[in-house]
C-alpha cells in the first residue's frame, strides 16, 4: 500500500510535449510547491489525444483526468489543439452520461514559460477532484480477479 493511500487520488495528466510538459518542468525548476496526485503522460500534441484515452483512464479507476496543451493559435503543429478542443468539448457531454462527474475532467492551456500558471492549474484541479472524492467504482469491482468471481455469482448468463 502506498504511503499516500487515502491522502492522494489518482489523477492522470495528458500533457503536450511542447508547452505544458515544459511548463510543469518550469514549475519544478522554480520549486513551486504543488500537489503530487498528478501522474503525467507526455504526448506530442493535444491533437494526439484520443478522447478514449480519458474514458479508458476513468474505466480503469482514475479519479480525475487533466489535459493540458498549447494555447490556441500556439500549436507546434499549427492546428492540433484546435481539433483537440472540439473533441474534448464533445467528450464532456459523454462523461456525465456514463456516470463520471464533469468536475473530474478538465482541459486547459499552459505554455512552457508559465510555471506559475501550471502550479495554479494543478492545485485548483486537484482540489476540485478532492472535493468530489474518489471516483465511485463498479459494483463488481475493478480488478480482474474480483470481477471474474463476482460475475459467476450474479450476472445473467
Amino acid at each position: 500500500m502506498s504511503v499516500n493511500e487515502g491522502k492522494e487520488l489518482r489523477i492522470i495528466g495528458f500533457l503536450c510535449n511542447w508547452c505544458s510538459y515544459a511548463g510543469a518542468d518550469t514549475a519544478g525548476v522554480g520549486r513551486f510547491a504543488q500537489p503530487t496526485d498528478l501522474r503525467i503522460v507526455r504526448l506530442p500534441c493535444t491533437g494526439r489525444i484520443n478522447p478514449l484515452f480519458i474514458v479508458r483512464a476513468f474505466m480503469n479507476g482514475a479519479d480525475g483526468v487533466l489535459v493540458s496543451g498549447c494555447h490556441p493559435r500556439d500549436c507546434h503543429y499549427s492546428e492540433g489543439n484546435f481539433y483537440a478542443r472540439r473533441r474534448l468539448e464533445v467528450l464532456k457531454a459523454l462523461l456525465p452520461v456514463i456516470g463520471v462527474d464533469p468536475g473530474r475532467f478538465e482541459y486547459t492551456w499552459v505554455s512552457a514559460s508559465e510555471g506559475q500558471r501550471w502550479r495554479s492549474v494543478v492545485t485548483s484541479f486537484t482540489e476540485q477532484v478532492h472535493a468530489l472524492g474518489p471516483m465511485p467504482g463498479f459494483k463488481s469491482g475493478t480488478s480482474l480477479d474480483m470481477c471474474l468471481c463476482h460475475m459467476d455469482q450474479t450476472q445473467a448468463l
Binding site: L52, M59, P96, W109
Partner: protein, 321 residues
C-alpha cells in the same frame, strides 16, 4: 400505402435495367419484421414489401457495394444516413439511385411481439393511422397505441420523408404523432446521481453478449472488420466479461460516431439484449447541436464537426484557470 407500394414497384422496374441491383424489403421469417431484399431481376420486384415492418436501415449496405450501380429504398431516417455517407465520401452519389418514401413509423418487433402475444395465426398487415398502429391478425384487426409498439427513435423523428432522393414515391407527410411517450433513458439518467448512472450502465452492460450487432448494423461504423474492440494491439478493451469493458466499447462506438450519428436507431434495434445504447449517441448529439449548431445527416455539402474547427469557437468558453 397500397398505392405507394405499387408506385414503388413501377419505379424500380423502370430503373432496374440500368442498375446492378436494388435494395428494398421483403417479407421475413418473423411476422413482425421484414427483411432486406436484394433485387437483381424483375421477378424479384413483386416480393417488395412496404409497411411499418420495414425497419432495417438499408443505407448501411452501400459502402460495401461501392463501385456498383445500386438502387436503394429509404425512409426519412435512412436518408439521413445516406447524407452522412455522402458527406464522408463513403459512397458516390452518381452510383446510387435513391427511392425515397414517407415513413409512418417503424414497428419495434420485440415490443409488438410482447403486446400481441402468439402470432402463429399469421399477421396479414400492419399500418399506422393517426395515433395508433393496427395489426391485422387472421382477419381481425388489433389496434395498439403507437407509444407501445413503435421504435423509440420514432418518438423523436425529425423528418419522416426521405429528403435526399431521385424518386419520391407517395405523399409527403409529418412524422408519426406519438402521444404520452415513456421517459427516454437520457431523461431517466438525468434524475440519477453520478454513481447511480455508472451502476445503471453496469447493470445494463452485464447483459451484453458482445455480439457487436450494434456495430455491424450501424451504417456509419465503417471500420467493421477492423474494429478497435477486437484489436489486441492496441488493446482498447479486454476480453473478460466485465461490464466495464462493454461500456468501454459503447464509449468507443459513441465517440467514433460523434457528429456523424443520425440516430437511425439501428444499434438499439439490432441489440438482441435490448440495451438502450442509442442514449449515449443522443447525449453527444445534443451537445454537438449546442456547440456547433450542427445536426448530422441534413446537408450533403457540410462536413461533420469533428472533421474541422474554427479558430474562434463561438460556443466554447476558455477555461478560467
Amino acid at each position: 400505402m397500397a398505392s405507394s407500394i405499387d408506385d414503388l414497384k413501377t419505379e424500380i422496374k423502370k430503373a432496374l435495367p440500368g442498375l446492378d441491383m436494388v435494395i428494398a424489403w421483403a417479407a421475413g421469417p418473423d411476422p413482425l419484421s421484414h427483411t432486406p431484399l436484394f433485387i437483381t431481376e424483375e421477378a424479384d420486384v413483386e416480393r417488395i414489401e412496404w409497411d411499418p415492418r420495414c425497419s432495417q436501415n438499408l443505407a448501411g449496405y452501400l459502402p460495401g457495394l461501392r463501385g456498383k450501380k445500386v438502387g436503394i429504398v429509404v425512409k426519412g431516417c435512412d436518408a439521413r444516413s445516406l447524407v452522412e455517407l455522402l458527406q464522408e465520401k463513403l459512397i458516390d452519389r452518381e452510383d446510387v439511385t435513391i427511392f425515397g418514401l414517407h415513413c409512418t413509423g417503424a414497428v419495434d418487433a420485440r415490443a409488438a411481439r410482447k403486446a400481441l402475444g402468439s402470432l402463429r395465426g399469421g399477421l396479414e398487415s400492419v399500418s399506422v393511422n393517426g395515433g395508433t398502429a393496427s395489426f391485422s391478425m387472421s382477419g381481425e384487426p388489433r389496434t395498439l397505441p403507437l407509444a407501445e409498439v413503435l421504435q423509440k427513435k420514432c418518438f423523436t423523428c425529425t423528418g419522416a420523408d426521405a429528403e435526399v432522393c431521385d424518386h419520391f414515391i407517395g405523399e409527403h407527410g409529418e412524422p408519426p404523432r406519438v402521444t404520452e411517450t415513456p421517459a427516454t433513458t437520457l431523461e431517466e439518467l438525468e434524475a440519477m446521481s453520478m454513481e447511480e448512472r455508472l451502476h445503471f450502465w453496469e447493470d445494463q452492460m452485464s447483459r451484453c453478449i458482445r455480439c457487436y450487432a450494434c456495430r455491424s448494423a450501424c451504417p456509419l461504423c465503417v471500420c467493421q472488420d477492423h474494429c478497435a474492440a477486437q484489436s489486441r494491439e492496441p488493446h482498447w478493451v479486454d476480453q473478460t466479461d466485465h461490464p466495464r469493458e462493454k461500456l468501454m466499447f459503447q464509449a468507443i462506438h459513441a465517440l467514433h460516431t460523434a457528429g456523424r450519428c443520425t440516430e437511425c436507431g439501428e444499434c438499439e434495434r439490432a441489440c438482441p439484449m435490448g440495451l438502450p445504447i442509442m442514449t449515449l449517441k443522443q447525449a453527444l448529439n445534443r451537445s454537438i447541436q449546442d456547440l456547433f449548431d450542427y445536426r448530422a445527416g441534413t446537408d450533403p455539402d457540410q462536413a461533420p464537426p469533428l472533421f474541422e474547427f474554427r479558430e474562434e469557437e463561438k460556443n466554447i468558453k476558455e477555461r478560467e484557470w
